[in-house]
C-alpha cells in the first residue's frame, strides 16, 4: 500500500505535460495552495481515479488523487472511458491526465474547489495490487483464539464456584 504514492509520483514526474497542450502539470498541493492565483485558469492535473464515479446528468464527478490529495474533477460523461478502473482496496485505478478550469470556490457547486474538465486522457491502466500476505497470522490468530476461549471458560467456572 505504501508503494502506491511512490508509483504515482514517479508517474507524474515522467509525464509532465499532457498531450493536448503545453501547460505545466500541477500537483494537488499547488492547486490547493495557489488556488487564489490559479482561480478560473486552465490547468493540467494528473492522478489516479479513486472511489466512485458520481453521475450528475450529462456530467460526472471523479476523485483524482496524486497520492497526496484527491482533487474533485467534474467531467462531461462523453469524455469518460467506458472501462474506467477505479482505485480501491488492493486495486490501483487508472491514471488520468485532465485539462480544465480550476475553480477555487465553484459558484455552480456550492463553493467546492474543483476542476471543470474539457480534456481527459488515460495515461495508464489500473491494475490489481499483487501482494503476498503472510498466512501464519491465521495460525497465530487461531492459537490466541483457542487460549482466549480456554481463559473465558476458566473465568466462567471460577465464577460458578464462587457463586
Amino acid at each position: 500500500m505504501k508503494k502506491i504514492p511512490l508509483v504515482l509520483i514517479l508517474s507524474l514526474l515522467c509525464s509532465n505535460v499532457v498531450k493536448a497542450g503545453t501547460l505545466p502539470t500541477y500537483t494537488s498541493i499547488e492547486l490547493i495552495e495557489q488556488a487564489k492565483s490559479l482561480n478560473q485558469t486552465e490547468v493540467i492535473y494528473q492522478g489516479e481515479v479513486i472511489g466512485d464515479v458520481l453521475f450528475r446528468g450529462e456530467q460526472a464527478w471523479l476523485s483524482v488523487s496524486d497520492g497526496v490529495n484527491a482533487i474533485a474533477v467534474y467531467v462531461p460523461i462523453q469524455l469518460l472511458p467506458e472501462d474506467l478502473a477505479l482505485g480501491r482496496y488492493l486495486y490501483t485505478g487508472d491514471i488520468i491526465s485532465v485539462k480544465g478550469i480550476l475553480h477555487r470556490a465553484c459558484q455552480n457547486h456550492g463553493g467546492d474547489l474543483d476542476l471543470h474538465v474539457s480534456y481527459l486522457e488515460r495515461t495508464s491502466l489500473g491494475y490489481p495490487q499483487e501482494r503476498e500476505f503472510p498466512e501464519y497470522i491465521w495460525i497465530i490468530g487461531g492459537v490466541f483464539s483457542g487460549i482466549a476461549l480456554i481463559g473465558a471458560n476458566y473465568l466462567k467456572k471460577r465464577h460458578e464456584v464462587s457463586e
Binding site: K36, F133, E135, I137, A148
Partner: protein
C-alpha cells in the same frame, strides 16, 4: 484526591480494567466479520489475531484481580480505572492499524485510535482511499464506541456492581444520571444510540445513494458517516471527507445527525419521554444557540471581508457547515485543510477556534468546554452583577434550567471554572508546543483548539510528517480533553504514589 495503599488496591482495579479490555477485544469482531464478508483475507487474519490477543490480555487482568472483584472502589480509583483502561485500550486497539500497515508507525496507530475513541477525527492513516472495508469499519466502530464511552459499553453488558460502576462512569467524563443507577443509565445511553443508529444508517444510505454511490457502497458509506456524525467524530471513509460526495442533501443529513449527537443524553431521554419543551428551556441549548449566532456573525464578517465565497449557498455549505461542524466538535470537512489557512482570514479562523473550544453539550458525544459549563459561568457572572445592584439584605439564588429547575451549588460552579481553566491551559500549552515546531500562530491555535476540544478540523498541521513529540503531545491532549482531566490526574497520582511505595 487521596488514594490510599495503591499497590494492594490495584487488584480490583485490574479486574475492572480487564472487563473493559475484553469488551474492546470483542468489538474487533465487528470489523472481522466485515472483512470476512468482503473477502479481505489478510485483514481478517489480522483482526482474528488482535481481537483474541486483546481478549486474552483482558482475561489475564480479570484473572489477576478476580479475588478482589467485590472490593468497593473509591471515586479516585474508579476514575483511575477509566483512565487506565483508555490508555491500555488505545495501545491494544492500535494493533490492527499497525499490523495491517495502515499506519507508518505504532505511534501513528495510537494517534489514530486515540483520535477515534475520543471522537476527535484527525488521522494519520495512510492511503485512506485504498483502505479496506475491515479497517474502515474498525475506524468507525472506535469512534462510535468512544462517543458513547467504552466504560459505558462495558457497564452495559458486563457488570452488575452499581457502586463501582458509577465511579467508573464518572471517570469517563460523564456525570449525568438518566436513571438512579449507573448501569441503567449506561444501558439507556446505548438504547438511544442504537435507536438513532438504525434511523441514521437508513437516512444516510439513501443520501449516499442519491449522491451517486452504488447501493452496497451507499450502505457502507451511509453507516460509517452516520456513526461518525452521531459520535461527533469526523472520520469519513475517503480522504476528501464529506467533500467527496458533492451533495448538499448528504451534507444536510450529516449536519442533522451531528447536531443531534452533540446534545446531552439526558435531553434525548427527556425528549423521547415526551418532554419536547425541554429543548427550548434547557440552558445548554440556549447557550449553544446564542454562542452559535455570535460566532456565525463573526465567520460571516470574516469570510465576506476576504470575499471567500461567491454566493449564499456556497457560504452556507462552507462557512456555516464548518462552524457547526466545529462547535459540535464533529470535524467533518468540505474544504481542504490548507484552504482554511490560505483563504479564510484571521477573523473567521479566530471564530472557528473559539467555537471548537466551546464545544457541544455535557454528557453527549461532543467535546470542548461544554455548553452547560459556559451557561453556568455566564449565569454566575449575571447573578453576581445582579447582586451588586440589589440591596445587601436581598438573597439572590443562582438558578438554571437543565432537565429540571436547579439551584447552582458552589461545587458545580467551582468544577465548571476548574474544567474550563484546565481546557484553556491545555489549549495554550498545545499552541505553544506547536509554535515551537515552527508553525504560524493561527495554524497552531486552530489545530490546538481542534485537538483539545476533540473536534478534528485540521488546518494542515496534523500529518504523518509532523514531529514525533507533537504527535505525542496531541495524543495526550485528546486524552485529557475527552476524559476531562481529573481521571488522568488521578492516574498520574496513582502511578507516582505506587512508585513511591516501592
Amino acid at each position: 484526591m487521596v488514594i490510599e495503599k495503591p499497590v494492594k488496591r490495584i487488584y480490583p482495579m485490574l479486574y475492572f480494567i480487564g472487563i473493559i479490555i475484553v469488551v474492546l477485544g470483542c468489538l474487533q469482531l465487528v470489523p472481522l466479520v466485515v472483512s470476512l464478508i468482503y473477502k479481505e483475507r489478510f485483514i481478517s487474519s489480522i483482526f482474528l489475531a488482535t481481537a483474541s490477543f486483546t481478549i486474552l490480555v483482558g482475561e489475564g487482568l480479570m484473572a489477576i484481580g478476580y479475588r478482589y472483584r467485590s472490593t468497593k472502589l473509591s471515586f479516585g480509583e474508579g476514575t483511575v480505572v477509566a483512565a487506565g483502561a483508555w490508555l491500555l485500550g488505545t495501545m491494544l486497539c492500535a494493533l490492527p492499524y499497525y499490523f495491517s500497515g495502515s499506519c507508518l508507525s505504532f505511534i501513528d496507530s495510537c494517534f489514530d485510535v486515540m483520535s477515534g475513541l475520543t471522537t476527535t477525527g484527525l488521522c494519520l492513516i495512510q492511503d485512506m482511499d485504498h483502505l479496506s472495508n475491515g479497517i474502515n469499519m474498525w475506524r468507525q466502530t472506535l469512534t462510535f464506541t468512544g462517543g458513547q464511552g467504552m466504560v459505558v459499553l462495558a457497564l452495559t453488558f458486563l457488570t452488575k456492581d452499581q457502586s463501582n460502576a458509577y465511579k467508573m462512569y464518572v471517570g469517563e467524563g460523564k456525570d449525568e444520571k438518566l436513571f438512579p443507577n449507573a448501569v441503567s443509565t449506561a444501558r439507556q445511553i446505548w438504547k438511544i444510540s442504537i435507536f438513532y443508529l438504525i434511523i441514521g444508517t437508513v437516512v444516510m444510505t439513501f443520501a449516499a445513494r442519491s449522491a451517486g454511490l452504488a447501493w452496497d457502497r451507499a450502505f457502507l458509506h451511509g453507516m460509517w458517516v452516520y456513526m461518525s456524525a452521531w459520535s461527533t467524530g469526523g472520520f469519513a471513509p475517503m480522504s476528501q471527507n464529506i467533500l467527496y460526495y458533492h451533495s448538499s442533501l448528504f451534507e444536510l443529513c450529516a449536519v442533522v445527525f451531528f447536531v443531534i449527537g452533540s446534545l446531552n443524553f439526558a435531553l434525548h431521554h427527556a425528549v423521547l419521554s415526551g418532554r419536547v419543551s425541554e429543548i427550548r428551556k434547557n440552558i445548554e441549548t440556549i447557550t449553544f444557540t446564542i454562542s452559535f449566532i455570535i460566532l456565525s456573525s463573526l465567520v460571516t464578517v470574516g469570510l465576506m471581508k476576504n470575499n471567500v465565497y461567491p454566493d449564499l449557498l456556497a457560504f452556507l455549505r462552507k462557512g456555516l457547515f464548518h462552524l457547526i461542524s466545529g462547535q459540535t466538535t464533529t470535524g467533518f470537512m468540505t474544504v481542504y485543510a490548507k484552504q482554511f489557512y490560505y483563504e479564510w482570514g484571521d477573523i473567521a479562523l479566530v471564530a472557528m477556534t473559539i467555537a471548537m473550544l466551546l464545544g457541544g453539550s455535557a454528557c453527549s458525544t461532543a467535546g470542548g468546554f461544554k455548553a452547560l459549563r459556559i451557561g453556568v459561568i455566564f449565569e454566575t457572572f449575571k447573578t453576581e452583577v445582579k447582586k451588586l445592584l440589589l440591596p445587601e439584605s436581598r438573597i439572590v439564588e443562582y438558578r438554571i434550567h437543565h432537565i429540571k429547575e436547579m439551584i447552582l451549588s458552589d461545587s458545580l460552579i467551582r468544577s465548571s471554572f476548574l474544567i474550563v481553566t484546565a481546557y484553556l491551559v491545555t489549549f495554550t500549552v498545545g499552541t505553544l508546543i506547536t509554535l515551537l515546531f515552527g508553525y504560524p500562530l493561527t495554524m497552531a491555535a486552530f489545530e490546538s483548539a481542534s485537538v483539545t476540544g476533540n473536534v478534528g478540523l485540521s488546518i494542515g498541521v496534523t500529518s504523518t510528517s509532523m514531529p514525533l513529540l507533537l504527535k505525542i503531545t496531541y495524543i495526550i491532549m485528546m486524552w485529557l480533553g475527552r476524559l476531562e482531566f481529573m481521571s488522568i490526574f488521578a492516574l498520574i497520582a496513582f502511578i507516582l504514589k505506587g512508585g513511591l511505595k516501592k
